[in-house]
């Protein structure tokens, strides 16, 4: 890409959990202004990889460097949006207060607002379009609104790497597009690096630059042009897929079951079985 230094550098990463090997020799680099999708089936190790990047799990071997230093030393450079967001409806916390805890939740003393924190919080709320419900109870917001509140919580510290775990799951089309739009703005305007896990890559194709594909704890990586091709994706998914071009957009579609049979037979025939 450029001769800038990578914001995230993962080299030969191996992780074991409970005696089982989850990730083996995973390597990839991300540079400022890139949006990378982390794709893989359930149980492929996506969440484990994210938690290792965040320094919440210790790896068996390999290195994770964020901004050139080990993950634990540069916590302020990383923002994280977990998959399961479910606030208690009775929690005495406004959206504004939740965002503010992202700024200085680890500090001691009572959370009184001053001009500087108020400005930072307002900016983060504005960035995700959460001004409308800034003064509502977090627990009473809809799922999509709660997600935006947590994104603002992650953005308020101005991280250089934003990590989102399955942000598009359970979102309707409109909300999903709004989120993709927001992520696109972050990488272009603020040169932020964004890492997103997803089952379905379609909504992300317009904004993403790179793909990391996890299969059985091993990772393949490449640019969109390299990976989003019928043969490559069929091999990665272990299931035949087609690429559709429609109105300037690219769509990845799994083949229908009948075609799948034919495709399988063709492949078998090709291998001479």
């Amino acid at each position: 890409m450029t001769n800038q230094s990578p914001i995230l550098a993962v080299a030969d990463l191996s992780v074991d959990l409970g005696g089982r090997s989850i990730l083996r020799d995973v390597s990839f680099d991300l540079y400022p202004g890139q949006l990378c999708a982390l794709i893989g089936e359930n149980g492929a190790g996506k969440t484990t990889l994210l938690r290792t990047l965040l320094g919440l799990i210790t790896q068996r071997a390999g290195t994770v460097l964020i901004g050139g230093a080990p993950a634990r030393e540069h916590r302020e450079l990383v923002g994280y949006v977990p998959q399961k967001i479910n606030f208690d409806p009775d929690l005495p916390l406004r959206t504004r207060d939740l965002v503010r805890l992202g700024l200085d939740g680890q500090r001691l003393g009572l959370p009184f607002f001053n001009g500087r924190t108020r400005y930072a919080v307002d900016q983060a709320l504005q960035a995700v379009g959460a001004e409308d419900f800034a003064d509502q109870r977090v627990g009473e917001l809809s799922g999509g609104q709660q997600q935006r509140a947590v994104i603002a919580h992650a953005l308020v510290r101005k991280p250089r790497l934003l990590i989102l775990d399955e942000p598009l799951a359970n979102l309707d089309f409109g909300s999903a597009n709004a989120l993709v739009d927001l992520l696109g703005r972050l990488i272009v305007q603020q040169k932020m690096t964004v890492l997103v896990t997803a089952h379905d890559m379609n909504p992300l194709i317009p904004v993403m630059d790179r793909l990391v594909y996890l299969v059985d704890g091993r990772a393949a990586t490449g640019t969109v042009a390299e990976v989003v091709q019928a043969e490559v994706l069929s091999k990665l998914y272990g299931y035949p897929v087609s690429i559709l071009h429609h109105g300037g957009r690219i769509l990845v579609l799994p083949d229908a079951p009948e075609n799948a049979d034919v495709a399988n037979m063709n492949r078998c025939a090709g291998h001479g079985v």
């Binding site: 994280y80 977990p82 005495p92 406004r94 939740g105 680890q106 001691l108 009572l110 959370p111």
Partner: protein, 272 residues
Amino acid sequence: MFSSFMINTWIAGTAIALVAALVGYFVVIRHSAFAAHALPLGAFPGAAAANLLGVNPFVGLLVFVGMGVLLLRQLARIGRRDVGTGLLLVLFLGVGALFLSMTSEYAPEVFSLLFGEMLGVSDADLWPILGICALVSVVMITIFRPLLLDSSFPDLAALQGISAARMDLIFLSLLALVTASALPVVGAFLVFTLLVGPPAAAQSLSIHPLRSLLLAVIFAESSIWSAIALSYWTNWPIGFFVGMLGAGLFTLARSYRHWSQRQRPAVQVSSL
């Protein structure tokens, strides 16, 4: 009502209500109601044992409530947390019953330890109670932000370097200290109502973290003051009034919230 033998009760009651509201605020957010109910009952044999050995009851309470915290964490590790909490609580109560059966003044002792004793605060007890309340308030205000983040969303807290295990230990220790100081006045059973009732009511009424904390303190103080006054006039046990006022406050606050939610139904949908 404010005669010299009541002064200690008023002072201790005020201090206890303050820390009960501060710690109870997090009992409600962390869904630790069962632990908050079990720890005071776990402390109860401490007073009985201290009585038997002839040491200061406050020391006995602290020792037993400390053991309660440690055992609670161990039991939660090997099984279901609620079952472990329940069994720990009855084990301690059973031990308490045993200790009490060995003393001569069995029945009245049981009653005042479980349901509170208006005149339970001697001059010698007052200073340790005030000291502990001051300590708990300072620690509580110091760690307010990390504890609030950890209690509302542990994953996000971990990311900022806040350890959930450490927060759990600090929180339970503070709860234990409040328990030990409140138990002689309001009784092992009703410490819990003082902890949960006012903060739950306050959190229903205010969505602002600091304002609802302040409201919790106000509710707790007014409950304990009214309970002391009512108990003085009627001669009925103070625990009865603490229990009733806690339940009343909670029910009123809940009803108000349900009513006010019904007043503004469309806001959430439209802002989406």
